[in-house]
Symmetry: C4
Amino acid sequence: MGGDDNGDRALLSVRDAEQSAAADLPPDVRDFIAGGSGAEVTLAANRAALELVYLVPRVLNDVSDCTTTAQFLGSGVAMPVAIAPMAYQGMVHADGELGLARAARAAGIPYVAAMLSSCPLEEIAAVGGSTWLQLYWLRDRGLLRDLVRRAQEAGCRGLMLTVDVPKLGSRLRDMRNGFAVPAGAGAANLAAPGNGTAQASMAGAAVPGSSAVATHTAAAFDPSLSWPDIAWLRDQSDLPLVLKGILDPADAHRAADLDIAGLVVSNHGGRQLDGAVPSITALPEVCAAVAGRCEVILDSGIRDGTDVLRALALGASGVLLGRPALWGLARGGEAGASRLLGLLQDELTSAMMLAGCPDVTAAAALRTVSPVAATVDAVARGYSR
Amino acid sequence: MGGDDNGDRALLSVRDAEQSAAADLPPDVRDFIAGGSGAEVTLAANRAALELVYLVPRVLNDVSDCTTTAQFLGSGVAMPVAIAPMAYQGMVHADGELGLARAARAAGIPYVAAMLSSCPLEEIAAVGGSTWLQLYWLRDRGLLRDLVRRAQEAGCRGLMLTVDVPKLGSRLRDMRNGFAVPAGAGAANLAAPGNGTAQASMAGAAVPGSSAVATHTAAAFDPSLSWPDIAWLRDQSDLPLVLKGILDPADAHRAADLDIAGLVVSNHGGRQLDGAVPSITALPEVCAAVAGRCEVILDSGIRDGTDVLRALALGASGVLLGRPALWGLARGGEAGASRLLGLLQDELTSAMMLAGCPDVTAAAALRTVSPVAATVDAVARGYSR
Amino acid sequence: MGGDDNGDRALLSVRDAEQSAAADLPPDVRDFIAGGSGAEVTLAANRAALELVYLVPRVLNDVSDCTTTAQFLGSGVAMPVAIAPMAYQGMVHADGELGLARAARAAGIPYVAAMLSSCPLEEIAAVGGSTWLQLYWLRDRGLLRDLVRRAQEAGCRGLMLTVDVPKLGSRLRDMRNGFAVPAGAGAANLAAPGNGTAQASMAGAAVPGSSAVATHTAAAFDPSLSWPDIAWLRDQSDLPLVLKGILDPADAHRAADLDIAGLVVSNHGGRQLDGAVPSITALPEVCAAVAGRCEVILDSGIRDGTDVLRALALGASGVLLGRPALWGLARGGEAGASRLLGLLQDELTSAMMLAGCPDVTAAAALRTVSPVAATVDAVARGYSR
Amino acid sequence: MGGDDNGDRALLSVRDAEQSAAADLPPDVRDFIAGGSGAEVTLAANRAALELVYLVPRVLNDVSDCTTTAQFLGSGVAMPVAIAPMAYQGMVHADGELGLARAARAAGIPYVAAMLSSCPLEEIAAVGGSTWLQLYWLRDRGLLRDLVRRAQEAGCRGLMLTVDVPKLGSRLRDMRNGFAVPAGAGAANLAAPGNGTAQASMAGAAVPGSSAVATHTAAAFDPSLSWPDIAWLRDQSDLPLVLKGILDPADAHRAADLDIAGLVVSNHGGRQLDGAVPSITALPEVCAAVAGRCEVILDSGIRDGTDVLRALALGASGVLLGRPALWGLARGGEAGASRLLGLLQDELTSAMMLAGCPDVTAAAALRTVSPVAATVDAVARGYSR
């Protein structure tokens, strides 16, 4: 790691990483990661809603053997956290997906490889951790089938289909920046014969007022995705399937009737429908609709160990960690990501111990309260951006 | 247009237009448009209330053929949006009402011509779009009858009677600015024989501490407007009638019993009674009171495509777009307005797709949640002081 | 008025007067008037709570003959507003109590003379308006009896006993300023033989860290005031009696069983118990407890005509106007106060017309809503002082 | 006191003391005291929640003999306040624990000596006030037994076992400051034979990025503390036992079934689990669960006399005063602490008188309202989306 890990002494919490990223990344890359869609109402609301979930800690439980281990995404994990699928990690640090996947493996947690990764999924899977492959619904069904086959052959543990991107949310920061993915960090999985154009479009020159990512999405993603397609995808492999991007309890109820391994309650980190409900607000009703038929995973807004505990207390089996993982990767490549995940593990352990929870089963039984006094304070902080 | 459309590359969202108007307009004209009444409590509350309506998107609906077309204001429209009646558009740009009406026609949406327009209603109607005429209740009943006759002869599709201006709200910005409508932008429809004075008063010299618009309103508008007058107005023509400015469910219930085409839930953009309830807050109860007997339209505070979707989800058949349309007009005349309406169309389409709505029927079925619901749920679940 | 009314063209609303007072008054006098007790939580909460009472206006009522006249404090008034009892008006402007009383008479509203007025009550009553005398419960019962007799002889219409000052609230601004009432503006009514000391103490030299007003209050006021004392006071005259400073419904219920003319729901403008409930929040429950047995008057936080309408809509028969009246007096003596009351009359008329209320009976029937969205916004603004 | 009490004229309220501490203390010591854990969400929420508890004062009660005396922590006190256990008071002022204990004795209130005090408990108890000893659950059970024995022999009135520190909360300020307790102010009680190392570690050199206090806590405290251990502790002495750090009603219910004298509703001043519910929010449900079986004491966030009254009104028998007592000590040693406690006594007396409470029994019967109650009422009255 050497030089690029210099300032790490100041990285004392997962939240610290975000501040440091301002120094570690070019402004347009940082904006691409940090930004939301539209007026970024949902981006802010995710945080406000999480902060107004007050935990009611228990005491006088023996927490000397506190463990964060869990069954999550179908297997045993060191903590109920997985790296969220995030595109183009090669632009964050030269270590890219391999660095973050190695850090996840070392931390004992799953890594969900993005379909739009900067290096081929086979190389990521070869890292040897618990690797999942995320998919968007591509117009090119053959390419999709191909990706599924490759995932299975590479030893991926499952597939995570993102269902909330019929088109890209309006990411004004990227449009203002004329953002394009830097050359060399483009979508390696799609750089198969016949897909050269797709990758090229993303790595193209910056165009003021337009986002190359949005242009590519519109060209490549199929907005006709609907319920029957899930069966088609299930038929392409024996891999467990998780649906990512569900917020409505009725959708959750229907999804749980399919043979899926889980669903992810997510508003895509405030990057798709601006004005969408915060994920943590939607979580309890989704859990009630699912009624234990599959895993319910929380995504969007997780920033520290307490947030993980909040999600567990409200019914999630675990969470996806997004932006903070990239901040860690930006800071020091694999080592920076490892340090970040170590901090999160420490924070979750600490939060569980302080809440009197020796394990995740106890965490799931914690009470939470959200009085209006809290609402007033926290929503207002979110609102008065 | 050429030169005055220069900076448009930076206009990437409907909201952007408001910022740009600071450069495009004289301060007193901008204040006249942007301002509210009194302490501007309702002006701000309109926005706060809209942003706290969280949408719950649906997924796995085929949205590849997403359409924003709707039945709205009695006919088919490209999107359920109409240009709100706004006075004196000639002072915003030389294109004035004609520019905005042409942009509306091109966008496939209705244009509600203000009674106090800077050019005669006949010219506006001749643009050939779906034109409605807005009316205030004038002391001069003959003049009112005349306007109705002219509207019918000019081919207007309907009448929209504003019922919330028995007098003008106290617009302190205009009073501080000594605002008067610039010469040449005055009320062309009233410049008939015998009405020269009225227009003159509005185009008069600036008087510090007083608003020429308020002076004219007090002279010309009749505060005795009451329920029986609606029948009189209905008798003057066969044109459909919409009442604009209703917030109380009891008023809505009574109005729906008359033979009207619709009503507009509006607090006049926070420009009349300061302290009035936000329109979006009042909407659901009004819809319940109307119970489908006529259209219910939302006005006040709409700033982007998500806001339109919020209104649809809470029961409106469509919305009136006010200030943003003028910001677009200010920026580049007809072309600027067209660009603005194009952005709104894009934003609404995007919001509907991201919410899983292939059409407005699906939009009307979306769930919403807000801190109200969450709080009440939480309290009901047993948390209480 | 001449010179001291120069800037009045900028005084376009009642609220404007507060800003201007910074220029019109010495800082310590302005602080004495503007300040609250303790951390000024209640001072801010009064405003936040009023602003979150959203009015639901009615339409299509004939408001061409809108009148603000009312029965209030036992007689016909031009608007349901009285000047609140406020001490030492002589320090605000040379016109002092006489100026404000004359302005009230001209405005057709009652003037409640403070026991601690800078000029004798007889001179105030001689102004010829509807004058009430406010009383504190003095340790010197003879002096109290004397004041009642003098009030009756001077033609006062009633007595208003302040019941929320067993001791003075901790007004830190005054203590920091070492505030003392300027010489000549002291308590004229108490400057009878044997009370020279009391007045002297208030007009004494400034003592850093201490308030001369607090010192005098502790010496002169009797904290033993309790229910049986009300009967004693009732026996001293035939004047109607109003109790000022009630917030608890149980107290209101008990008070209404006595032979009193009314009670004032008040937290003393946030100057007594810091942390006390906002008056407007307490009003509905107090009205329910009183059930029409006497008038219920709202005090604390009134800043414009909409606030008066809010109070009427929530059950008050009228309001007391405090600080704004002094800001008007400060600005231009009697003429400044008259202008202020004229503005308030205009604002109330305007608010009533815009709410569709031809009279106060209609105002009392208005609906209000206070959704959490509003709470979130308004309380937060109050909280984040 | 001399020189270090110079600025006291400006210390007019308990809250003022916090500001002054910036000048009185080294930044890292001030941060150690003022800071919370994690993102300090709970630290801020404690204050927000208290300020939103609105008191409904009573009137016409004779408060001329208002007394704050109470039964609290098992004996008669001058006011229902005790000094919270706080470590290392020697670093705040040379007077240290002895100064604060003397001030408490003079004020007629209990002093809870911290296990981690800078001077031996015997010296503190010798001050002669009502002294309690606080304990953490030490890995070294013999040392714990020893401390209990010493407390009993020294005449302590009771034991207060802190149950919310299985490990130290993540205090980022201390970690950033590389905070270590200054030499000479370390844990005197633990400096017995065999414990020299423990004290040394706390008084060690500053290590950037790490807190010496956290290091010591991890080494010395036993996170296995659980319900059966309470019985063991009860068996070590006849001293009354209070459990500090309970927030969940189920824990409170179980605790009250043990033979304990009381429990403290506390989130450790926002220093342990960040995201924990505010203590004042948790208080009513804990009181309901305890149902009078033992005392319920409120800790965390108390900043003035009104806060004490809020706690009494919501069911507490009294409160622990934390940081403000240290600010007083910092300002002027024993004299500064005495002045601080005098101010609190004045504030509480004033608040009780202004709320119409002649004694704490009346205080316990006060009504409170908050935006929660108001909102729920409003929604229940028929307003709902």
